[in-house]
Subunit: 82 residues, 2 copies
């Protein structure tokens, strides 16, 4: 299944708990779109969050993020990995 | 050791081979700065590359990338993961 990296800006000061809660909110509904969020990383200082997922499409990733209350600013397919 | 996510822009059309070669160039010298590049993901369409690393500092990450010939546009510490 294709992989995606999505990016959220404007999350300055995000805490470990908030990141975990947001990630769990995605996990709770991800199957409804055939998405799996693998990992998330956050930089509280710049307010940037990166999420790595496997999904049928970028739109499916965004639909889960939107329903979980945190629309992504960018969703990039990442077909190449090393 | 702290984790970092760095981002390279302007890599439109990057191929799987080019990504692998760039990653290997980092791996070949990373120990000299105590860095380990764990994974890299590329979106050839937008020309974006993401690299996840463990390193003593953002500067150490950047020094390896610079010596390997591909300075990052952003290097973010990502102390939070989920």
């Amino acid at each position: 299944m294709p992989q995606f990296m999505d990016v959220h800006h404007g999350m300055k000061g995000i805490t470990a708990d908030q990141l975990m809660q947001a990630h769990r909110a995605d996990l709770a509904i991800e199957k409804e779109e055939g998405v799996h969020f693998e990992r998330a990383w956050a930089d509280p200082e710049s307010g940037t969050v990166y999420c790595l997922s496997e999904a049928p499409s970028a739109e499916a990733v965004q639909r889960i993020h939107e329903r979980a209350g945190h629309l992504a600013d960018e969703v990039h397919p990442v077909p190449l990995t090393a």
